[in-house]
């Protein structure tokens, strides 16, 4: 697989480390009253779809950036690559 890095251009997926579902960006509020339940879901439960899947890849052997890669889990086709930083900021995750 080739991941088209937004800054570095097309790179071999072997340069990256895979973390998992991009929903991991949405870390629950640890002070919420349902935090235990929310962290169980966050840490252990997954959608695991057959089809389009937004996921986190880390460019370990490159610029060490985190990317959100949207990839089809049935065909392995990659349809979009974004900087995870941009995705997280757009969702108000970081100031």
């Amino acid at each position: 697989m080739i991941i088209n890095h937004p800054l570095l251009g097309p790179r071999d997926a072997a340069e990256f480390v895979y973390l998992g579902d991009a929903a991991l960006i949405e870390r629950p509020d640890w002070q919420a009253s349902d935090a235990a339940e929310a962290f169980h879901e966050y840490g252990y439960l997954r959608d695991n779809p057959a089809g389009k899947h937004a996921e986190l890849w880390y460019h370990e052997q490159g610029d060490r950036s985190w990317l959100v890669v949207t990839r089809d889990t049935v065909t392995h086709e990659i349809t979009s690559v974004e900087m995870a930083r941009d995705v997280a900021r757009a969702r108000g995750r970081s100031k």
């Binding site: 997926a13 973390l19 439960l45 695991n48 990839r71 392995h76």
Partner: protein
């Protein structure tokens, strides 16, 4: 129809015209006591043991494709019980004992070959860890045997003992481990279940669950609705897809694992050998091909094929312990889809939906578990209590903090 040497002789003399299909092809009935979704090894074993051990007959096994088309026909055929944790080891040892009596039990030649499995170790620390594992195996009644390099050199002269980076310091044998003809396992269980009245329905894909007021009353399929008192999902690899139809999220990711086979060679490997410093395992099939594999590709996938970086990694693992493998030409490679769970261990459990049961999360160790998985799932379905060796394989164990994490990797499925 029972198989025997006499039967083979008689058929051989009469033109082999008396062999018949070993299971029927029934149309689905409108209602069953138990509907098992998934006609793989585990689903068929579940049906077989439900009929044989628990006297239940009104059972259907629904299979989307044909019997043997899934992971039961795509694995590397290894059986063993060299686990460590109390939540796992008694279960896998029961499985190995069931393998040992399987062919007589279901009167079918599954070519169970206890040719041994050897886990190599490459450092003092790893030896200590393997000694600990061996002692845990003894506690569950399994066999284990520590071998020195001198013993190994005599038995397996072709390994690269003096490898500069990963010298071989010894190994842990389980002599009762080995290989089994994987397709024959599916056929044997299917035949045994069918003979006891189980309906095996192929080309029948489940498209939805009929859930009313928190109770599962049946399934929708491409061959019509089927009502059932209990619905047993047993579709490891596709668990995420199937359980999503019941609105459930699972502690599972689907990953692709590749396997490889070389051209046929003269007998060279006496048993199964695994590399301790990387991930590589190899055995030789009865046809002569070296059957081997290594790590999963490491990203979510439902495609039954992998990518080249893992092929390279597996080949490097092979060359590191067994340089002669470089002379063999690769004949085929293929991929299968694994339910990778959050702690590397499986689930055999009820779900929160009444009447809906779940078996999955086998990571890449499902084949060896086939008989025990079937037995324990049948026990759960028939009695509504977990089998004594499967009490920890629960869906809610993460919530309770009772993980069964053999490798201590945490909730990162691609590391298990």
């Amino acid at each position: 129809m029972r198989y025997s040497a006499l039967k083979i002789l008689r058929e051989g003399l009469t033109g082999n015209k008396g062999w018949k299909p070993v299971w029927r092809e029934p149309d689905p009935k409108p209602e069953y006591d138990i509907v098992i979704i998934g006609g793989g090894g585990h689903g068929l074993a579940t049906a077989y043991y439900l009929a044989r051990e628990f006297g239940m007959r009104n059972i259907a096994v629904l299979e989307k494709g044909w019997i043997g088309s899934g992971n039961i026909g795509r694995n590397t055929t290894i059986i063993r019980s060299n686990y460590m944790l109390p939540g796992n080891e008694p279960f896998y040892e029961m499985s190995l004992k069931l393998w040992e009596g399987l062919e007589q039990d279901f009167n079918y030649n599954a070519m169970v070959s206890q040719r041994s499995i050897l886990n190599l170790f490459h450092s003092d620390a790893q030896r200590d860890a393997f000694v600990r594992r061996a002692n845990a195996m003894f506690l569950a009644g399994a066999d284990a045997e520590l071998a020195t390099t001198d013993q190994l050199r005599a038995e397996l002269p072709f390994l690269d003992y003096d490898n500069a980076r990963f010298p071989i310091k010894g190994g842990l044998f389980q002599r009762r481990g080995g290989t089994v003809r994987h397709d024959a396992v599916a056929w044997g269980y299917a035949r045994g279940a069918d003979a006891r009245g189980v309906d095996i329905i192929q080309n029948c894909e489940v498209t939805g669950f009929d859930i009313e007021n928190g109770k599962c009353r049946g399934v929708q399929t491409n061959r019509g609705a089927i009502r059932a008192r209990k619905v047993a999902v047993c579709v490891a690899g596709s668990s995420g897809r199937v359980m999503a139809q019941a609105g459930m999220r699972l502690p599972i990711e689907s990953h692709v694992l590749q396997a490889f086979v070389t051209e046929g060679l003269k007998p060279v490997l006496p048993g199964v050998i695994t590399f301790g410093a990387g991930h590589f395992y190899v055995s030789q099939s009865d046809k002569g091909g070296l059957v081997f594999g290594g790590d999963i590709d490491g990203y979510n996938s439902y495609a039954q094929r992998g990518n080249l970086p893992v092929v390279e990694d597996v080949a490097e693992g092979g060359m590191a312990i067994m340089p002669m493998i470089g002379r063999a030409r690769l004949l085929r490679s293929w991929g299968g889809i694994m339910d990778m769970s959050m702690d590397g261990s499986p689930f055999i459990d009820k779900t929160d939906i009444d009447g809906l049961y779940f078996n999955g999360g086998w990571c890449y160790g499902g084949f060896k578990a086939t008989p025990a998985s079937g037995m324990c799932y049948a026990h759960l379905l028939a009695r509504d209590t977990p089998h004594p060796v499967a009490t920890q394989m629960r869906l809610d164990r993460f919530k309770r903090g009772n993980l069964i994490d053999e490798k201590g990797q945490g909730n990162q499925p691609n590391l298990h």
